[in-house]
Symmetry: D2
Subunit: 340 residues, 4 copies
């Protein structure tokens, strides 16, 4: 049993912790938090050990009468690997701590690529990450782009791709706030960082991305344009290739799924914890070949699509299993579906 | 094992079906739907029998190659009781069907009170509903008001109450639409129907309600003003009474719960199916006594607070258990919490 | 003085009526409405004659004590031309009435192209519409696309264009409702109708469009990708060409304009009636040349960008002026700006 | 002609400057800004002198090639009075500057009451402010409450009042962000500060307020409950009293005004600059007497209801006119309506 510590207990950390608990080859050492809030209380209720980020945080936990198990330093003593799901740029600051301890670490997409030895999407480059001490799971949008483009590239050859990403403005429980009743070029300059970020995983893909922020909380929606290398590709072939790819789900407006809201509803109906949707969801109706280009719409659930990647990254780093075996195990444990 | 049929498989029906499955004394006959959409597909995936509402619906199911088990008429043959969770006013139209079969039925709050023998909130009037053939579970807002007012009335005596209800404009997966970026007196006339609806359960409570619609999807928020009969009530006494009442949860901004979004996040963290929140959530900070009045804010999750009531209504109608025993069983099976 | 009747007094009709009043060569006969609501009351307050759509509507006006001037039939007696701004598809139903009277008519973009002799954007094809009895002003999104693409095509040659249109879900005062907290492929199939609609005005432009609906009320935002015929085009050249084109405004995030909300705020600051923004607004920062493609973001104010087009269409139909003269007059009267 | 300087050019400052320009007895010295953004560019376009807040700001203006007229210090040399519309708490910091110059100042509701000699709503206490050197115009919500309660108190006697304020989460052009898809008790503790703030203007009114934040940008909506001193008040009497009060507008759902969105639309239709709505708008249908209490809903446009108050405050401070004369002049110049 590999002992996994989760440092950071927000959007990603909470989900990784729950996913670790579901793995047959992993054990959760505990979670590290900065504040003794309701998330910490529920962690305790689930039987997770809760550690304070540092001594000063620990004091706040104690002041509130919260039963903390120590600090990050204590937690690291018992861990074989750490998943760092702290806020953007904090992971890079934490890295020296992990290096000093000689402990491997998984970082998230808020960190720059150079924080790690490899940027990672399991079905794209698991083998490249095998045995690497520091692995960076790329962001939700980049993960979505990589899964789709890798599938298209494997099957048909991608000559060039363009994506317009409509981004959710805030996560559902984010009260810091988001622009209301407005659309925001985000960033106003083109291209956005997503294209280069895809290339940290799929260096050979030629892609330009643009991003717009919209006042929604649940999902990103990508509009994708791809010029394929081979001509004469048919819609049906593309749909079939997407259906056969894991962690991609083809959905249909004919079944009543006409917006990101029904995608979330689907996850709710499946009784996914936190209505998580690990699969990138492509609309069957949208897959179209017009002239020499292929088009499609797909949804990316920003909170959860990277969760299976984190689990696989742990296995790749520690050489626990091969790519297919790990992904099978992850998909089974998380209840990932291939078809409705 | 009581055989329960769920007619209608939208917001309420889907949840009641899942809750029935969790009961030790109940068995789900199946669910009745009008359309073979993704909700029907997932019902099948869960092993639920899916029936079409009528012969013409059945043809649409068959046309789509969907494996339906027959029609409502077929389903009723196997049922001891039906929960009618069809859209507003359809329940009243269905009643003659149930009467003809001699089968008891639970109706929802979208129906008028006179559809049933009694309007029902378990902890307010379970005994009154005991053995009644037709029971109406009142609406989400009325259920919330009844739980809170009943608790206050039992403990302190309610002389008069006023509530301003800020209503969610649409459910999360409702694409029919809601007013965007506006607030709407709903209805513009005062009082709203909620006060009289409370009195169908608690006839002695003097209450006036006003309702405003806001562009949110997840919860209603009530602002409550109560004049208590006894003077000299202290905030602490009120908080304690609320904490001791089942299906009410006292939460605190100090724990980081500062909006309805954190209440939903709480339900997600608890791994509630569909992030359901059966408990009425009162903010500890808001409970205030100013002059002769008591004030508070609380949140009502419109999709799920009535689910335990439906389960209890089944037991009351069929005389399966007494009030406390039924509510204990329901609360245990649904994982309802009394304290964070 | 040309006598103009405005039939339909919603989003477009109200604005056209106000714009007609500002023209030195036009006179407003009156406006035709179906209901005696607050919009009708304000029309009276402005001194506009208000006509009822038909006899039955007129009775409702009278029942409410509203001072109507007669019916559509009466109004047509006094008009030289009618602008039909009735809801989608009603224009086509009204056309026989205008034909019978022998009166020219301007239709809006909700009608099919074949309702009219020509689909119209003034700076693209004024001359083609000159003297035509029935002219269709294309929709807001199509107008935006045509203005931009025509400018690029004139200056650099457009080989192919792709646009992803993020659509506002509802107009600000639309209470019929819109999807809340979700993104909706709209339609889910690709391409959307906007590409072919552009070609009703600019038949030689090769364009594919995709559309997504977002819960905002104020503007559409387009993400545009264009392959230019001539190579070696520089960003500066494109910005300059856009700046020199009328009814296009180049704005900058550097000036604090970072979302569609600041565009509306700009219109408010300019004291535009109803904060109308007749100009298509391109972000200077977004204009980028990457490889062989040109990219940009621009905003389209759905309620008002077609208003100047309606005024010009009247002049084109009745041969009142030449293209440049008409557009100069329209732009001056409406206070259209070329530069901040 | 009184020379008025406006310090701060955001939501309130921009409107006060435009309103000052419309007064026959006032002259705008200029406006003071911290940044040379699009708001500054449009001020120049309107012919307003733009001053930088201080020397360091002035350098940024110059660096951008912006034609600033100097700094706040320079501007004060030419002013008889200053309206301080700087952000919350900055007014208090600025006060010593005005004191040193011996110049009277109008402050806004973001400042604490003790920044000024008197808190002000023109139709409530103009005479009390007459000749006072420092006057604080109270916030938008407090102004709305004061206008309504003062009218009710004058006509019927207010024994006690309760208000639930549903607050807009952000102004339309505020990109700093607001909670999305959630309702937030704001603050969670009861009562909110609005009650005591009303008492700075109407000390004898007994009032308790609660506030909830909703994700809208355009207006606040108040739910008001009032116990009147005199019994037997009829709805018709209350409506009549409200209709006769200036700066209050009675609107009706029968005319199609069913939400705050139609109120804004009304302002747009009236061609109000920035769709401002200076009037507090009460729904006729909502005015109800139930038992011993009076109820109503009304909307408060947060950006503009205090603009007439600022103009009157200038006249009161400088003893330019009496109360009625000043309010008449203000209402006429701003186009305030008494009836639709």
């Amino acid at each position: 049993m590999v002992k996994v510590l989760v440092n950071g207990f927000g959007v990603i950390g909470r989900r990784v912790a729950d996913a670790v608990v579901k793995q047959r080859d992993m054990e959760l050492v505990g979670v590290v938090k900065t504040k003794p809030d309701y998330k910490a209380l529920i962690a305790l209720r689930k039987g997770y050990k809760v550690y304070a980020a540092d001594e000063s945080c620990l004091k706040e936990f104690e002041r509130k009468g919260f039963d903390a198990s120590g600090t990050l330093a204590d937690a690291l003593e018992n861990a074989d690997i750490v998943v760092d799901a702290t806020p953007k740029k904090v992971g890079a600051k934490n890295k020296p701590i992990y290096e000093k301890k000689g402990i491997p670490a998984i970082f998230e997409g808020g960190e720059k690529a150079n924080v790690a030895d490899v940027s990672f999407v399991a079905q794209c480059n698991y083998d490249k990450a095998y045995g690497k001490k520091y692995i960076r799971v790329v962001s939700c949008n980049t993960t979505g782009l990589c899964r789709i483009l890798n599938c298209l590239d494997k099957n048909f050859g991608v000559e060039k791709a363009w994506a317009v990403i409509v981004r959710r403005a805030a996560d559902p429980d984010d009260t810091k706030g988001a622009p209301l009743d407005m659309l925001m070029p985000n960033p106003p300059a083109i291209p956005s960082h997503h294209g280069p970020d895809v290339q940290t995983v799929l260096p050979h893909i030629d892609i330009v991305t643009m991003a717009v922020m919209a006042p929604v909380t649940h999902m990103h929606l990508h509009s994708l344009i791809v010029r394929l290398k081979g001509g004469n590709v048919k819609k049906e072939d593309v749909v079939e290739a997407l259906e056969e790819e894991r962690r991609i789900l083809v959905v249909s407006a004919e079944d009543g799924i006409i917006s990101t809201a029904q995608l979330i509803d689907l996850a709710r109906d499946l009784h996914r914890p936190r209505n998580d949707l690990y699969e990138i969801c492509v609309w069957r109706e949208s897959v179209s070949v017009v002239g020499s280009e292929l088009y499609m719409f797909y949804g990316v659930q920003q909170e959860s699509d990277v969760i299976p990647e984190n689990i696989d990254a742990i296995r790749a780093s520690l050489r626990l299993m091969g790519a297919e075996e790990s992904m099978d195990e992850t998909d089974r444990s998380l209840g990932i579906v291939r078809k409705l």
